[in-house]
């Protein structure tokens, strides 16, 4: 596969390490009332759809960016590649 890195252009997927569902960005608030339950769901209940899937890839043999890649798990078609940092900020994450 070829991943179109937002900063570096098209790169072979062999340069990357795969992590999984991009919902891992949504780390819960540790001070929430039901924090343990929220963390449990966050860690163990991952999406695994047949179709478009937003997932985390790490450019380990490259610039060490974490990317959010939207990939169709049936065809491997990649429709979007974003810097995970930008995705995290858009979700309201900061410090």
């Amino acid at each position: 596969m070829i991943i179109n890195h937002p900063l570096l252009g098209p790169r072979d997927s062999q340069e990357f390490t795969y992590l999984g569902d991009a919902n891992l960005i949504d780390r819960p608030d540790w001070q929430a009332e039901d924090a343990v339950d929220q963390f449990h769901d966050y860690l163990y209940l991952r999406n695994n759809p047949a179709g478009a899937h937003r997932e985390l890839w790490f450019h380990e043999q490259g610039d060490r960016s974490w990317l959010v890649v939207t990939r169709d798990t049936r065809t491997h078609e990649i429709t979007a590649v974003e810097l995970a940092r930008d995705v995290a900020r858009a979700k309201g994450r900061s410090k």
Partner: protein, 984 residues
């Protein structure tokens, strides 16, 4: 007489005569021959024995789809089994042997299998060798393995190298027949970056096998002229002997180039084969078509081959398998073979055409509405039996029979991404359909365009369309006048009869086997394949799949497209495993990382151990030491008595900087870091989000906004990846930058009572490293050896007064030599990973054996370190009830009740009076060593509620070695539990 069956003409170079041998007999051929064509020219039709029944077999085809003519090529370490004689290029001195027979090829003792064929039908193994169970391994399997199968391996190492390569292009054109050449000419002239790949050594595809004219040239001449122009274009790369084996995601194609297979051995410095990864913006599949046979009784006799193959041997290689030839066809193309052979002066005894309205094309006897029902000849064809239109039986003499059942477009690569071909009734064949791999177009016979003129035009048009898609303008290449006959075919896949008619010759599958599969309910194509093994041989059923489907369709009363098609998968033709491995073989399987002191250690005769990719010194044997224990005990005792040096460069080092660096570390470690003063080091415990321990190490604060942390050797990569995840995905606005500096610094541990004295000879006098100025857990930037920048950390893994000293990697070797020199007056030793391990077990430090992915901070006795007043990775889920049970495993020490006893890591802990089973399991030993300081074996282990069980005696049970030892639960700190030595 040499080359008795060689006729005039052909595309071989008769000025070059090549000697070769087959089954020990010497023959001659010419440059341009394949092994199969040269053998046919020498009157050899019998080339091997079949897989299961040991039937005599000769070539069915003249190309890579060959199921029968498989030989062992070359000798010695380069011997390769199952090589297709039809694509093995002849070279001077080539040696080949037939395979799969006992005794001579002409009298194979295992041909008895053929007489026993009723027992060997589809499913025979499954039904017969069921019981008794013990017989399978001992009796049945060895016999079957001996009798079935094909070539044999030499069991010698492959002496050749294999390369991998990477190419990029605008358009990859797969196949250099008329369609591919017209496409390449069109795209090449338009200036596009073109790769033209073809599996053959002579490009041109069928143009080299036909006598049809292209304008005022022969097809072969036009191919030469066109290739010459393409070769002159700098933007076109022509790759002969290169098979495109697969269409992968996003326009990536795999291709195997047989760089040296046409030579006796590779030229110096050249690989045998190169596996290319081709990144193509677009691709054009111009892979042509493969002819298919018609099954009839005994249709596998040497001399019976495909009509188009017979034509290739006559036209391209000037070789015919016999004086008299007959043709069996269901379409007009079969007649073309007869006409070409007659033009070459070969006697064609008859054309047998199953169609009642067969046209008269060739000047020979025509049996319209007739079929071939059988054949005779023990080791090669002598007569075919026919049934004429009026139902009479007639024997026709011939040494060769050309069979033409129609042509199947080579759709394989269109299916590599789950595209399904569609049935075309006019061609009676599957053509590409549905979804093609993105960026691919198909042209020529591969797309069902069967005439030469059609192939040329469709190639040029496809190139124009492809370039338009890339935003380039191109005009179709000017193309010559060419044959444009329509396909005339009345499908016929097998001639009904009582005897065995072969569908898949490589796996010995007959029409009867397909019928049996149907009878037993294996109707789905995928079941049919697996039950009969139809199409599952190395040829992947290129000549047999459609025939098998047709028979099944007939049985079920469905049409062929309703019956289905099988999925084609890469590779298109077999690829040696060695080509996939490339240079990653033997010691180059993966990179080897050497420590800065490696060369020094090698000079000392150190024994090395692989630790991940690293090679680390395990121990340093000295003269007179005969066992590893002697060396390791000496290294441990000398270190604790005076001083020892150890290369610890392999530990991961990560540099952390930024105004939020302290806060960042506070979140990735379970214990707090915010208040660590500058110039101090702190132990850090890193958890996974699920609360299990991920890693541990030390973190030094070099400045307010600058830290250096260490990881374990094994987790260096994973911890760094995790930290980048936290930084970018969880807290994207934190001002923190990280980088791995593992390879930037050489780092040595200097441990023992004389460590400071030794280092005072190395560290520049401006730096005071006394206990007052540089206490335990201190750190700082220093200089050594007269101005070289260095870092010093007062940390200890051994439990002794110890420092770790780091210098830029390029000075690592020099520093080791300097320290050894400086240590001479203290009898300093250099110790390896074994002594390192012994000392950390003596001190009770957890390491990889304890940080095994199943342990929590609580298990390791560090539960109190998980700070509950801050958010850190893993802190929330550490609070789960199941991870805080009263009977949780605790890390404790063990010693044998009888000091002479030993025990092993991995042993399980069982109460003295309990049965040793899983229900009574109390825990297990993680690390065990012999302590030379204590004089007996010691161990660390995880024991239920262990912290409260000191003094208890348990059994360490080792069912693997069938041993058990009485052990006493003790503190994990065997040496200096108060830590006085550390702080000395």
């Amino acid at each position: 007489m040499s080359q008795t069956n060689r006729i005039a003409g052909g595309l071989i170079d008769r000025s070059q005569t090549l000697n070769f041998s087959f089954d020990g007999k010497t023959y001659q051929g010419h440059a341009g021959d394949t092994l199969a064509s040269a053998l046919i020219a020498n009157g050899v039709r019998l080339m091997g024995r079949s897989f299961k029944y040991h039937r005599p077999r000769g070539p069915l085809t003249a190309g890579s789809e060959e199921p029968n003519a498989l030989v062992e090529l070359r000798s010695g370490a380069r011997q390769e089994p199952n090589t297709r004689a039809t694509v093995a290029e002849l070279f001077d001195g080539l040696t080949a042997r037939s395979q799969n027979h006992v005794g001579p090829l002409s009298f194979d003792l295992l041909a008895v299998n053929d007489l026993l064929s009723p027992f060997f039908a589809a499913g025979f193994y499954y039904k017969t060798f069921m019981w008794p169970k013990a017989f399978w391994e001992k009796l049945y399997e060895p016999i079957i393995r001996r009798a079935a199968g094909l070539g044999s391996l030499t069991m010698q190492a492959d002496p050749d190298t294999y390369d991998k390569g990477f190419l990029h292009c605008d358009v990859l054109i797969i196949g250099a027949g008329p369609a591919g050449l017209a496409a390449a000419l069109t795209a090449g002239r338009a200036g596009a970056e073109v790769i033209l790949a073809d599996e053959d050594f002579l490009l041109g595809g069928r143009l080299n096998s036909e006598t049809l004219a292209l304008g005022d040239q022969t097809g072969a001449e036009w191919a030469r002229t066109t290739l010459a122009e393409l070769a002159s274009l700098p933007n076109v790369r022509i790759m002969a002997r290169t098979t495109v084996i697969g269409a992968f995601d996003h326009g990536i194609y795999g291709a195997l180039e047989r760089v040296s297979d046409h030579l006796p051995e590779p030229l110096p410095g050249k690989p045998r084969q190169t596996l290319w990864r081709i990144y193509a913006r677009r691709s054009l599949l111009c892979a042509g078509a493969t002819e298919r046979p018609i099954a009839f009784e005994n249709n596998d006799r040497p001399g019976i081959m495909l009509g188009g193959a017979l034509r290739s041997y006559a036209n391209r290689w000037a070789a015919v398998p016999g004086e008299k030839v007959a043709i069996f066809t269901n379409n007009d193309d079969g007649h073309r073979t007869a006409a070409d052979l007659i033009a070459k002066g070969v006697k064609v005894t008859a054309v047998i055409d199953s169609r009642a309205d067969a046209p008269r094309i060739a000047d020979c006897e025509l049996l319209a509405g007739a079929v071939v029902t059988g054949s005779t000849g023990r080791l090669g064809l002598r007569f075919v039996k026919t049934r004429t239109a009026d139902g009479r039986e007639r024997m026709i003499e011939c040494q060769a029979l050309g069979v033409s059942g129609g042509w199947n477009p080579n759709v394989h690569l269109t299916c590599h991404q789950r595209g399904r071909p569609q049935w075309n009734a006019a061609l009676a064949a599957f053509v590409p359909g549905g979804t093609l791999p993105p960026g691919m177009l198909v042209a020529g016979a591969a797309n069902g365009v069967m005439s030469t003129a059609g192939a040329l035009a469709s190639g040029a048009e496809a190139a124009v369309a492809t370039l338009a898609d890339l935003g380039r303008k191109a005009k179709p290449a000017d193309l010559p006048q060419a044959e444009d006959a329509p396909v005339q075919i009345t499908p016929l896949f097998h001639v009904p009869g009582k005897g065995r008619a072969w569908v898949d010759q490589q796996n010995d599958v007959t029409v009867k086997d397909v019928k049996l599969a149907h009878q037993e309910g294996y109707i789905s194509v995928e079941h049919l394949k697996r039950y009969t093994t139809l199409g599952m041989a190395t040829d992947q059923g290129k000549t047999s799949n459609i025939g098998g489907l047709a028979v099944m369709a007939e049985m079920t009363g469905k049409s062929i497209p309703e019956t289905g098609t099988t999925i084609f998968r890469p590779p298109y033709t077999p690829v040696p495993i060695a080509a996939f491995a490339g240079r990653s073989a033997g010691r180059d399987f993966r990179p080897t990382r050497l420590t800065p002191s490696h060369h020094w250690a090698a000079e000392q005769g150190a024994v090395f151990v692989e630790v991940g990719m690293w090679l680390r010194a395990q121990w340093f044997p000295r003269e007179g030491e005969t066992t590893w224990r002697q060396s390791v005990d000496r290294e441990v005792l000398a270190t604790r008595k005076s001083v020892g040096i150890c290369d610890v460069t392999t530990l991961g080092k990560i540099d952390v900087q930024g105004s939020d660096a302290a806060d960042f570390l506070n979140r990735i470690y379970a214990n707090p870091f915010a208040k660590l003063p500058v110039g101090k080091v702190r132990y850090g415990l890193m958890l996974r989000e699920d609360g299990m321990v991920m890693d541990d190490g030390t973190t030094a604060r070099l400045a307010e906004d600058h830290f250096v942390l260490t990881t374990t050797t094994a987790n260096a990569v994973g911890v760094y990846r995790h930290m980048e995840f936290c930084r970018q995905c969880l807290w994207p606005d934190m001002d923190v930058q990280i980088i791995s500096t593992t390879e930037a610094w050489a780092q040595y541990s200097v441990a023992g009572p004389n460590a400071r004295k030794l280092l005072q000879k190395i560290v520049d006098p401006a730096f005071d490293i006394s206990n007052e100025a540089f206490p335990y857990m201190g750190c700082g930037d220093i200089t050594v050896c007269g101005g070289l920048r260095a870092r010093l950390f007062r940390i200890s893994f051994s439990g002794e007064l110890a420092f770790e000293i780091a210098v830029p990697t390029r000075y690592g070797d020099a520093l080791m030599r300097r320290m050894v020199e400086a240590g001479r007056e203290f009898d300093a030793v250099v110790y390896g990973t074994e002594a390192l391990g012994v000392m950390r077990i003596e001190k009770g430090h957890a390491a990889g054996n304890e940080l095994n992915g199943t342990t929590t901070a609580l298990n390791l006795g560090m539960g109190g370190m998980v700070n509950k007043k801050k958010d850190s990775i893993g802190s929330t889920l550490s609070e789960r009830e199941g991870m805080n049970r009263a009977d949780a495993l605790n890390l404790v020490g063990f010693r044998p009740v009888n000091p002479a006893d030993t025990f092993a890591a991995g042993s399980h802990l069982i109460a003295r009076d309990a049965v040793a089973n899983a229900a009574n399991d109390q825990g297990y030993l993680t690390s065990v060593a012999f302590s030379p300081n204590l004089g007996h074996t010691i161990g660390l282990g995880l024991l239920k509620n262990g912290a409260a069980r000191k003094g208890e005696v348990l059994r360490a049970v080792n069912p693997v070695q069938n041993s058990e030892t009485l052990v006493e639960v003790v503190s994990a700190h065997f040496i200096d539990p108060e830590g006085d030595r550390l702080r000395a």
